[in-house]
C-alpha cells in the first residue's frame, strides 16, 4: 500500500471567521445549551402562573407601592442600554474583522462601560420586583430569571475584560481577532435573550 498526495494544505490559513473556525461552533453550541435553559425557565414561569391568580399576587402591605407589578423603569433602561451596546459591539466586531486595532480597543472599552451599567441597573431591577425570592413562587421564578441573566452579564463582562486586556497589551493576532468576533456573538445573544426575558418579566403580567 502506498500513498499519493492529492491535496496540499500548506497555504491554508490558521484561522477564519464565523463558521470556518471551530471556536464559532463551540461558542454557539454553548449558547444553544443556555437558550434551552432559558426556554425551559420561561415555560416554568408560565406554568407557575396558572397557580397564582391574579399574577403577580396582591401585596400584603397597605402602603405604597400598591401595585404588585414589577416597576418598568430599570428593566426598560437596561433593555435600551443592552440594545445600544450591541451597536458598539457591532463596531468592535467589524473592526476586529478589518484588523483595525485602535478601533477595536476603543470599542471594547466602551462595551465594558455598558456592561458595568447593565449590571448596576440589574441590581436595581431586583428591587423593582415587589416580592422577595422567598415570598412566593412568583417571586422565586422572577428572581431566578433575573439572576440567571445577571450571571450571563457577569460572565460576559469577565470575558470582555480578558479580551480587552489582550487587545490592549498583546499582539492583535488573527486568533484573538476571531475570539473577539465570538465574543460579539455572545454579546448579541445576551442582549437578544434579554429582549425576550424583559417581555416575560415586565410585560407578560400586564396582559392577563
Amino acid at each position: 500500500m502506498n500513498t499519493r498526495p492529492v491535496i496540499d494544505v500548506s497555504d491554508l490559513p490558521h484561522h477564519g471567521f464565523d463558521t470556518v473556525d471551530t471556536i464559532w461552533w463551540g461558542n454557539n453550541l454553548l449558547l444553544a445549551i443556555e437558550t434551552s435553559m432559558f426556554a425551559i425557565l420561561i415555560a416554568t414561569y408560565f406554568y407557575l402562573r396558572q397557580n397564582i391568580s391574579p399574577w403577580p399576587p396582591p401585596l400584603a402591605q397597605l402602603t405604597a407601592p400598591f401595585s404588585p407589578l414589577p416597576g418598568l423603569g430599570f428593566g426598560t433602561a437596561n433593555a435600551l442600554v443592552l440594545l445600544l451596546s450591541c451597536l458598539v459591539m457591532m463596531w468592535v466586531d467589524l473592526s476586529a474583522r478589518r484588523g483595525s486595532q485602535g478601533a477595536t480597543q476603543r470599542g471594547l472599552i466602551i462595551c465594558l462601560v455598558f456592561a458595568f451599567i447593565a449590571i448596576i441597573l440589574r441590581s436595581f431591577e431586583f428591587r423593582a420586583v415587589k416580592f422577595r425570592w422567598d415570598s412566593n413562587a412568583y417571586g422565586s421564578v422572577v428572581w431566578f430569571i433575573l439572576g440567571m441573566h445577571m450571571l450571563h452579564l457577569i460572565t460576559l463582562t469577565c470575558e470582555t475584560v480578558l479580551l480587552t486586556g489582550w487587545a490592549l497589551t498583546r499582539d492583535f493576532d488573527m486568533k484573538h481577532r476571531v475570539d473577539i468576533t465570538a465574543l460579539a456573538v455572545y454579546w448579541y445573544w445576551v442582549a437578544g435573550i434579554w429582549m425576550v426575558l424583559y417581555a416575560v418579566v415586565y410585560w407578560a403580567p400586564r396582559f392577563s
Binding site: 500500500m1 502506498n2 491535496i7 496540499d8 490558521h14 453550541l29 445549551i33 397557580n51 413562587a137 488573527m174
Partner: protein
C-alpha cells in the same frame, strides 16, 4: 521512549523523510509524563479510556448495590438491609447507573472513536474535554463519599418533590444528589460540544455528511439531544436545591409552587435521556453488524433518518412517565400516540440490520453475539414499552416491578449488551490485543441467561402487584419464589460480568496480538496501529466512499502540508468536508483541572453556604485569567494576514471530480 507499534500501511510507505516527520510528530504530540501529566493530558484517547475505566468502576459499584438489593429481596421479611439503607441503596444504584455509568461511557466511546473515524488528530476542544472528565470524576466521588458517610440520597433516582423537598427530606442527602446532577450534566454537555465540534469541523476531506459512518451519526444525534435535554434536569435540580437551601417556592404548593412541574422538567430530560443512552448503542450495533456480516448496511439513508426521527420523537414522550398524575386525558392520548410512533423508527433500524445480516456469510464472534442478544432483549423491552404507553394499563402497573422489568430490558438490552459487544469489538484497538473468544462466549451466555432470569420474573411480580422500592414484603403475598429466582439470576449475571473482567486482565497480558484491523472492518480507526499513535494519522487521509477502508484505492490519497512541528490538524467545511484551515490544537495544560476544582468548590460548598457561589465566581475568573494569558506558547500565533484559501477551491474541485 518505548517504540510504538506502527501500522503496516504506514511502515511500508516510509521513506527517510517520512520517518523524520513521524519522529517529529511523536515529539510534538507526546503525552506529558508523570502524575502532573495525568492531570494535564489532552489526548482524546487517554481521556476516553479514563472515562471508560471510571464509568466501569461505577458500573461495578452500581452492580454491587443491585446485588445488595437482590439479597435483601431474596426472601420475605429479610433484615439484611434496613429500610433506610435500602432507600439509599436503590437511589444510589439508579443514580450511578444513569448518570455515572450509562451517559459517560457512551460519550467516552464517542470521544475515543469519533476523531479516529472522521480522520483527525484530536477532538475540536481538547481542554474542554479534559475539564469534562474531571468534573465528572468529582461528581462521582462526591456521591460515593456522601454514601459512605450515610448521607447518600434516598429519594429515588428522580428525586420527586415533595418527598425530596425541604419538608420531607431534611438533611443534606438530596442536596448531594442535586449537586451531583450538576457535575455530571456539565460533563455530558462538554462531551456533546466536543463531539459536535469534531464531527462538524474536523472530518477528513472527502468525508461529506452522507459518507459519515453510522457510529458517528449516532454520536452526533446523541450530542444534539444532550444539548437540548440536559439543561432541563440541571434547571430542575437547581430549582430543587434552591427550594431546599434558600427557601424559594418553585415546588411548594402552599406558596403557588407546583410539584407536577418538577416531574415535567425531570422527564423532559428523563425520557430523552433514555435515547441519549440508547442511540450511541445503535451506532455500536451498526458498526458491528457491518463488520461481521461483511456487507454494506441496508438502507443507510433510512438508518440516518431513523436516528434523527428517534431523537425528535424522544422529546415528545415525557408525559408517559406521568400518566398517574392528573393531566388532561387529551394530552395523555397525544403522548400515547407519540410513544407508539417511536416504535416506527426503531423498527426501521431493526429491519435494516436484519436485512443486512440476512443471507450474509456471518462471522459469528463475541461482538456479534452481544448484538444478537440485544435484538432479542430489546424487542422484549420494546413490547412492554408499547404496553406501558397505553394509559389504562399503565395506571394499573404504575410503580410496580413491571416497570422495573421494562426499564431494565430497555436499558440493559438496548445499551449494556451493545456496549459489551463494543468492548469486545474495540478492545483490540485500545490495547493492541484481542479479548479471548472462549471467555467471551461464556461471558455472553452467562449474562444473557442471568439477565433474563433476573428481570423476566419481575414482569409477573409487577402484575401480581409488587410495588417497586419496598425494602421487604410479607410471605403471604406469594412473591417469594419469583423473587428468589430473580436473585439467583442476579448471581449468574454477576458471574457473567466477572468473566468479562477476568477476560480484560487476561487479554492485557496474554491476548492474541491484534494487528491493525483484526476484523476486516471498514472505518478509518482500523487503518491505524493498535493502539493508535498519539498523533493518530501520519497523513490525514482523503476519503473515497462511505466505507473508508473498503472503498479505498490501492494508492491511498492523502493530504500533505500540515506542520509536523506543531499540534496541527485540518479543519474542513461542515457539509462537504472541504479543507478550510490548518488549525493548531491546544496541548497539555493544568488549567482545565484547576477550573474543575473551582467548579467543585462552587457546587459542593454551595450545599452549605451561598457564599460558595461568590467565591466560585472569583476562583473561576482567576483560572480564566491564567488560562487566557498564562501559556501563549502552545501556539505560534500567526499575526500575518491569512493568504486567500485558494487550495480549498482546488480541493473542492478535486473532491467533485470523477477520480473520487
Amino acid at each position: 521512549m518505548a517504540e510504538r507499534p506502527q501500522s503496516l500501511a504506514e511502515h511500508a510507505a516510509q521513506t527517510d523523510a517520512d520517518r523524520r516527520e513521524i519522529r517529529e510528530l511523536e515529539r510534538v504530540w507526546a503525552r506529558p509524563p508523570g502524575i502532573i501529566g495525568w492531570f494535564t493530558d489532552t489526548d482524546h484517547k487517554a481521556i476516553a479510556l479514563r472515562y471508560v475505566v471510571t464509568a466501569f468502576v461505577f458500573f461495578i459499584l452500581g452492580g454491587i448495590e443491585a446485588a445488595l438489593m437482590r439479597i435483601q429481596l431474596a426472601r420475605p421479611e429479610n433484615h439484611f438491609l434496613s429500610a433506610d439503607l435500602y432507600n439509599q441503596v436503590f437511589t444510589v444504584h439508579g443514580t450511578t447507573m444513569m448518570f455515572l455509568f450509562a451517559v459517560p461511557i457512551m460519550t467516552a466511546l464517542g470521544i475515543y472513536l469519533v476523531p479516529l473515524m472522521v480522520g483527525t488528530r484530536d477532538v475540536a476542544f481538547p481542554r474542554l474535554n479534559n475539564y469534562g472528565y474531571f468534573v465528572y470524576l468529582i461528581g462521582g466521588i462526591l456521591l460515593y463519599v456522601a454514601f459512605f458517610l450515610n448521607t447518600g440520597p434516598d429519594a429515588g433516582w428522580f428525586s420527586y418533590v415533595p418527598l425530596s423537598g425541604p419538608g420531607y427530606s431534611p438533611g443534606k442527602r438530596v442536596d448531594i444528589w442535586a449537586q451531583m446532577i450538576s457535575f455530571t450534566e456539565i460533563s455530558a454537555l462538554c462531551g456533546a460540544v466536543v463531539v459536535i465540534g469534531t464531527v462538524f469541523k474536523m472530518r477528513a476531506p472527502g468525508m461529506s455528511l452522507h459518507r459519515l459512518p453510522l457510529f458517528v451519526w449516532a454520536q452526533l444525534v446523541t450530542s444534539f439531544m444532550i444539548i437540548f435535554a440536559m439543561p432541563a434536569v440541571m434547571l430542575a435540580s437547581s430549582l430543587l436545591a434552591s427550594d431546599r437551601l434558600i427557601d424559594t417556592h418553585f415546588f411548594n404548593p402552599a406558596e403557588g409552587g407546583d410539584a407536577i412541574l418538577y416531574q415535567h422538567m425531570f422527564w423532559f430530560f428523563g425520557h430523552p435521556e433514555v435515547y441519549i443512552i440508547f442511540i450511541p448503542a445503535l451506532g455500536f450495533i451498526s458498526s458491528i453488524v457491518v463488520t461481521f456480516s461483511r456487507r454494506r448496511i441496508f438502507g443507510y439513508t433510512a438508518m440516518v433518518l431513523s436516528l434523527i426521527a428517534t431523537a425528535f420523537l424522544g422529546f415528545g414522550l415525557w408525559v408517559h412517565h406521568m400518566f398517574a398524575t392528573p393531566l388532561p386525558q387529551l394530552g395523555q392520548s397525544f403522548f400515547t400516540a407519540a410513544s407508539m410512533m417511536i416504535a416506527i423508527p426503531s423498527g426501521v433500524q431493526i429491519f435494516c440490520w436484519i436485512a443486512t445480516l440476512w443471507g450474509a456469510k456471518l462471522n459469528v464472534k463475541t461482538p456479534l453475539l452481544f448484538v444478537l442478544g440485544f435484538v432479542a432483549i430489546f424487542v422484549m423491552g420494546g413490547l412492554t414499552g408499547v404496553m406501558l404507553a397505553s394509559v389504562p394499563l399503565n395506571l394499573q402497573i404504575h410503580d410496580t416491578f413491571f416497570v422495573v422489568a421494562h426499564l431494565h430490558y430497555v436499558l440493559i438490552g438496548g445499551a449494556v449488551f451493545p456496549l459489551f459487544g463494543a468492548f469486545y469489538y474495540w478492545f483490540p484497538k485500545w490495547t493492541g490485543r484481542l479479548l479471548s473468544e472462549r471467555l467471551g462466549r461464556w461471558n455472553f451466555a452467562l449474562m444473557f441467561i442471568g439477565f433474563n432470569l433476573v428481570f423476566f420474573p419481575m414482569h409477573q411480580l409487577g402484575l401480581n402487584g409488587m410495588p417497586r422500592r419496598v425494602y421487604t414484603y410479607l410471605p403471604e403475598t406469594g412473591w417469594a419464589n419469583l423473587n428468589l429466582l430473580a436473585s439467583v439470576g442476579a448471581l449468574i449475571l454477576a458471574i457473567g460480568v466477572l468473566f468479562f473482567i477476568v477476560n480484560c486482565f487476561w487479554a492485557r497480558r496474554s491476548g492474541v496480538v491484534a494487528g491493525d484491523n483484526p476484523w476486516g472492518a471498514d472505518t478509518l480507526e482500523w487503518s491505524l496501529a493498535s493502539p493508535p499513535p498519539d498523533y493518530n494519522f501520519f497523513r490525514i487521509p482523503v476519503v473515497e466512499g462511505g466505507y473508508a477502508l473498503w472503498d479505498r484505492s490501492q494508492e491511498i490519497p492523502v493530504v500533505i502540508g500540515l506542520s509536523s512541528t506543531k499540534r496541527e490538524t485540518l479543519v474542513t467545511s461542515v457539509v462537504d468536508a472541504v479543507p478550510e484551515l490548518r488549525y493548531e490544537l491546544p496541548g497539555p495544560s493544568l488549567w482545565p483541572v484547576l477550573l474543575s476544582l473551582a467548579t467543585a468548590e462552587t457546587f459542593i460548598v454551595g450545599i452549605f453556604t451561598a457564599w460558595a457561589f461568590a467565591i466560585g465566581a472569583v476562583l473561576t475568573f482567576a483560572v480564566f485569567i491564567g488560562w487566557f494569558f498564562g501559556d501563549p506558547n502552545y501556539e505560534n500565533v500567526d499575526a500575518k494576514e491569512p493568504p486567500e484559501p485558494r487550495d480549498a477551491a482546488d480541493a473542492l474541485q478535486y473532491l467533485r471530480s470523477e477520480e473520487v
